[in-house]
């Protein structure tokens, strides 16, 4: 009724209420913490990498509906994918979220993640959507530093 559907779509709200891959995995090979100091969102991301593939992934922490559902949708997308593919997804996702009106993005590559495209119209919420992805990047590249979306 308040035209919030472009931001809070039903599927986004569903991921917010029932986040997928939420918790911890048994033998993580990589992990990283992410923090958004502006709103206090915190995420812990764990990965099990095997033969260049994401064998398992989980996240935990506290966050708003956008950061939680973005993390949840990301983890669903990652399982079984090669690291090269993950890298391409990250690039495409970032491009979609930070695009200017009229700019295009790779909808085919992004698949279900395209649901979050409306966030590009809410500049104050872009960092909520990208926190999980930046944390993922850090986990894979083992930067061992808390990611901060300043």
């Amino acid at each position: 009724m308040y035209d919030l559907e472009d931001l809070y779509q039903e599927i986004v709200m569903d991921h917010n209420r029932r986040p997928r891959n939420f918790g911890e995995i048994k033998n993580p090979t990589n992990s990283a913490d992410g923090f958004n100091p502006l709103c206090g969102d915190q995420i812990k991301l764990q990965l099990h990498l095997k033969d260049g593939l994401v064998a398992d992934v989980a996240f935990s922490g506290v966050g708003c509906a956008i950061s939680k559902s973005s993390a949840s949708m990301m983890t669903e997308e990652l399982k079984g994918k090669t690291l090269d593919h993950v890298e391409n997804l990250f690039g495409a996702f970032r491009k979609m979220i930070t695009r200017k009106p009229g700019d295009s993005y790779d909808a085919d590559l992004l698949g279900d993640l395209e649901i979050l495209q409306g966030i590009s119209r809410y500049p104050a919420r872009i960092k909520c959507a990208t926190l999980a992805w930046h944390t993922l990047h850090s986990a894979i590249h083992d930067e061992n530093e808390v990611v901060s979306t300043k």
């Binding site: 919030l4 502006l38 969102d41 506290v62």
Partner: protein, 413 residues
């Protein structure tokens, strides 16, 4: 006579619509809106007597100087300073605090000395002292806070020791609304020979301020939270302390005589005002003070006390599940700050949802990160009131929060 509808008519922005809804501006602790009188005073300066101050012999410069110094006198009277020479212009409360930390702190805080703060300080009254303590190997201590968001005053006598040189406290918390007993803190500080600094950023705009009655050594505040323009703030320092303080910034305006090798300082207050000052906005703040004086600060305080009581009652009546309220229940010791958190809806989502209804609130840590963490939450939603807010707007907030909870809990529509 305090007529809110008439007051609202003075504020052009309040007729604005956001997403088709009337703007309900409840972010006054961040910055206040400006009445036409203040906006006009800025235009008047630039259109009719724009000139530099204190050095021209020409007509415009003399007029600008008169109006600039007149604004200082208005501000000095507003806080009942002994003299307008004790009021210095700064950019904001933060700059005032940094000025004290350098000009007073460098000479008066030594290794092992103690600075006593409250746990509810804005970062601006915390970080400059952390940095000073680091430079001097001094110690920062905190007065414990009770569950209801007030200071545990029973502990203060033990915390102020012969090593305490400064007690610095926020008069009204921007995150909780708590009004702290700064006069009592000052008495306790003075008994041990320590100074008392009052951060008036939230109190000066919302309640009567009398530095002589408070007996405070330093008072800092900001213009933009009290109907004035951004970029102008003020600092009050007691005469005997100010006389001993070295300049903060040096250069033009603040000197008496300059040779190639050295300089001597101008009299107070210009000794602390290097460079061309913010003339227009000082005059604008003077105009804001006129506006507040016309209404009467006692009336402003009463209006906001009524609003916070109303808000606390309305939310209690609504009985919304999983809603945590922060700050004292007693409106007598609370400003117009309504801070809350809901179990199911993150403050950020609440803020976005309310914005779609035209309601402007602040979400996050309100520049008081350690305090918000100590409440056991990552962030809160804060609605903060001012003299132009109405009970009707509180009703709209209650409806908005109720709908947001339904929306995020049960799904849209």
């Amino acid at each position: 006579m305090f007529d809110v509808e008439k007051i609202r008519g003075d504020f052009p922005i309040l007729s604005k619509k956001v997403y088709g809804n009337p703007l309900v501006y409840l972010d006054n602790a961040a910055t206040s809106q400006k009445p036409r009188q203040v906006i006009d005073s800025l235009v008047d300066y630039y259109e009719n007597y724009n000139a530099n101050v204190h050095r021209g012999v020409h007509t415009l410069s003399m007029e600008a100087t008169d109006r600039f110094e007149e604004a200082r006198e208005k501000v000095a009277r507003f806080i009942n300073a002994e003299s307008s020479d004790l009021v210095m212009w700064t950019r904001n409360a933060s700059e005032s605090l940094n000025l004290i930390a350098y000009s007073w702190g460098e000479d008066n805080v030594h290794e092992g000395d103690e600075i006593l703060l409250t746990p509810m300080e804005h970062h601006s009254n915390l970080v400059p002292w952390q940095e000073l303590a680091r430079r001097k190997n001094a110690v920062i201590k905190f007065i414990p806070m009770l569950e209801n968001g007030t200071l545990n005053m029973g502990e203060v006598d033990d915390l102020i020791t012969e090593r305490t040189v400064l007690v610095s406290a926020v008069h009204m918390s921007n995150a909780l609304g708590t009004i702290n007993p700064v006069r009592e803190l000052g008495e306790k500080a003075h008994r041990q020979g320590a100074k008392i600094l009052v951060d008036g950023a939230q109190s000066v705009p919302h309640m009567p301020t009398n530095v002589q009655e408070l007996d405070c050594d330093f008072l800092v505040f900001s213009g933009h939270k009290m109907l004035g323009p951004t970029g102008i703030g003020a600092l009050y320092v007691k005469q005997d302390i100010l006389n001993t303080m070295e300049p903060f910034l040096t250069g033009g305006e603040m000197v008496l005589e300059v040779s190639y090798q050295e300089a001597s300082w101008a009299d107070l207050p210009m000794r602390f005002e290097a460079g061309t000052p913010n003339i227009a906005d000082s005059i604008g703040l003077g105009s804001a003070v006129d506006y507040l004086n016309n209404l009467g600060m006692e009336n402003v305080r009463k209006h906001e006390k009524d609003l916070i009581s109303y808000a606390l009652n309305r939310f209690q009546e609504a009985g919304l599940e999983g809603m945590d309220l922060f700050g004292p229940d007693d409106p007598e010791i609370r400003g117009g700050v309504f801070s809350f958190n809901t179990v199911d809806v993150h403050p950020h989502d609440m803020g976005t949802f309310l914005d779609r209804m035209g309601i402007a609130v602040r979400t996050g840590h309100h520049c008081a990160m350690p305090l918000i963490r100590s409440l056991g939450v990552a962030a809160t939603v804060r609605a903060s009131f001012y003299l132009y807010n109405t009970e009707r707007e509180v009703d709209i907030l209650v409806d908005g929060v109720t709908e947001a909870l339904r929306y995020f809990r049960d799904g849209s529509e």
